[in-house]
């Protein structure tokens, strides 16, 4: 059995008295490739952000490598929820890339790397330059893109720059938020190929929050499907596809963005019958 990375029990999010998101139990192990799927506004993103240590749960229990995350504490909104050790293991690529807007991508990445890993000395400066270049090569981000500001980059370049940032620390766990958001077919293909390279070359854990079912089919063998804040499916992608009717595969190829609700209906019917 591989190492348990995350375990969530009875996680809840409430707005006033209404329960808007609830997870009974989910465990994610090292080496798994997991996709959190479902339409937007169904709170898969809330769960993703809790996994990434960007938000703490309001109620319930979320453990990262056996350490329980603190519940939301209004007195310490700025404290990092994850340990430094865990942060080094995790690379996060957010939907809104958030690269520093007033400097070039290269400067932004180098500065962040230096800040994270040590003092401002000659060896670190040299080291950060090398690490940024290696990481850019790894994700296929060109030299010219590195020297531009984020506002001068196209959508695919931004996604790759965000991946490059996530890869600075050579993480063993990759968390990606809506990685293919806003990409045209060519860009989508390039990103998908890059992801394939990255995931194929090392034993990495991937957790991807997305509404792109086709990308999930390519890169994640485990699907966790959310609807209205509840997990309606957690299992193998093939199992979901098998249970959701024959049309799913064909529809995935033609329309990768939208959840077809008849898949979900079909799935429910099959799960009920089972």
């Amino acid at each position: 059995m591989t190492k348990l990375l995350w375990s969530a029990k009875n996680l809840e999010l409430r707005a006033r008295d209404t329960k808007i998101y609830h997870i009974d139990s989910i465990e994610i192990h090292a080496g798994e490739h997991v996709a959190l799927l479902g339409d937007s506004r169904h709170f898969r993103r809330s769960f993703f952000r809790e996994l990434a240590g960007l938000e703490s749960p309001l109620k319930g229990e979320l453990c990262v490598e056996g350490e329980r995350l603190p519940l939301r504490d209004e007195r310490h909104p700025w404290r990092d929820l994850l340990s430094k050790k865990m942060r080094r293991k995790i690379g996060v690529s957010l939907e809104n890339e958030g690269l520093l807007s007033n400097v070039s991508v290269r400067e932004s990445l180098e500065t962040l790397f230096r800040f994270k890993y040590g003092d401002h000395n000659a060896s670190l400066i040299e080291g950060s330059q090398r690490v940024v270049e290696e990481s850019a090569t790894r994700v296929g981000l060109g030299e010219d893109s590195l020297d531009k500001r984020p506002s001068e980059l196209g959508r695919l370049e931004l996604r790759l720059a965000s991946l490059c940032l996530a890869f600075l620390t050579k993480p063993v766990i990759l968390l990606m938020e809506n990685p293919s958001q806003g990409l045209h077919d060519k860009g989508w293909q390039a990103l998908s190929d890059t992801l394939g390279d990255i995931l194929g070359s090392a034993q990495r854990t991937l957790v991807m929050d997305t509404d792109d079912w086709l990308l999930a089919k390519r890169h994640a063998e485990r699907w966790i499907v959310f609807e209205e804040g509840v997990v309606i499916f957690d299992g193998k992608a093939d199992d979901f596809i098998a249970r959701s009717g024959p049309r799913l595969l064909a529809e995935l190829e033609t329309e990768r963005w939208q959840t077809r609700h008849h898949w979900i209906d079909e799935l429910r019917k099959n799960l009920g019958a089972a």
Partner: protein, 276 residues
């Protein structure tokens, strides 16, 4: 269930939670722990941002502060010299200038200029960064926004206010001396010795507390309001206005409190004559 409306409420809820007291307590705690944990002061990148902030807040505002200082120094002398001469008290001009400019108007007016110029800029810069997702990216990379963004701005802002106020004071005193020549016979040596005689160690202590304290508070407020937004663009001007208004109030409040404390302690020790 209207998930969309509920999701809005969640973010609103979050915004309300981060009250000033919460943020400020967390900020001070995080600031001290960051300085120790991340060795923030030894980092060249941070020192560069602090220097940039000093340049932006201090050097670039120098001309504006100089103009205000010339006006205030000149007007203070113009208003008081004629009256003092009538009552035979022109020797009190030096101590009067020290009292008015060094203790009160210098720190206050410099703070007001800095708030108008830089506090608004810092608040809008940080709220734009929040809106662009840059703050979130820092958090996701394991970098504390307080160490990386807030500390250099607060430290740089406070240092800049200190130096700007020093500039204000000497320019206002020099302008006061020049203006005094039109009303009274006041040689430079006497003016200088009057000034030096009027400034005591308590004055210098209060001066540092006022300038650095105001700098710390107003730039903390700028960062607080800038980071407090939930991430929508329309909140940026609101955050900027709130930061400026709160900074004005806090700067006035702090300086009035310190002045009252100072005058009460001095008058208790020396009687009213000790004020000058």
């Amino acid at each position: 269930m209207d998930v969309f409306i509920l999701s809005l409420k969640v973010s609103e809820m979050e915004k309300v939670r981060t009250s000033f007291a919460t943020f400020f307590a967390s900020f001070v705690e995080e600031l001290f722990s960051s300085v120790a944990r991340d060795r923030v002061l030894s980092r060249g990148d941070i020192r560069r941002v602090v220097a940039r902030q000093v340049k932006f807040t201090g050097q670039q505002a120098f001309r504006l502060v100089a103009i205000a200082a010339v006006f205030v120094g000149g007007m203070t002398v113009a208003q008081s010299a004629a009256q003092l001469q009538r009552w035979g008290g022109s020797q009190a001009l030096g101590p009067l200038l020290v009292g008015v400019i060094f203790r009160d108007l210098g720190p206050l007016l410099t703070a007001l200029i800095v708030i108008s110029r830089s506090v608004s800029a810092v608040a809008s810069e940080l709220s734009s960064m929040k809106s662009n997702g840059e703050i979130e990216m820092l958090k996701a990379s394991g970098i504390s926004p307080l160490s990386y963004l807030v500390f250099p701005r607060v430290a740089g802002g406070a240092i800049a206010i200190l130096f700007l106020t020093m500039h204000f004071v000497w320019i206002a005193l020099a302008a006061g001396f020049v203006a005094a020549q039109f009303f009274v016979v006041l040689p430079w040596s006497r003016f200088l010795s009057d000034l030096l005689g009027a400034v005591g160690p308590t004055d210098i202590f209060i001066f540092f507390v006022k300038t650095l304290g105001t700098g710390f508070i107003v730039f903390s407020l700028a960062c607080f309001y800038g980071l407090r937004i939930s991430g929508r663009n329309y909140e940026i001007p609101q955050a900027t206005t709130q930061a400026v208004v709160a900074s004005f109030l806090m700067a006035f409040g702090l300086q009035i409190c310190l002045s009252i404390t100072y005058y009460l302690s001095v008058s208790a020790r020396w009687g009213l004559g000790g004020l000058m």
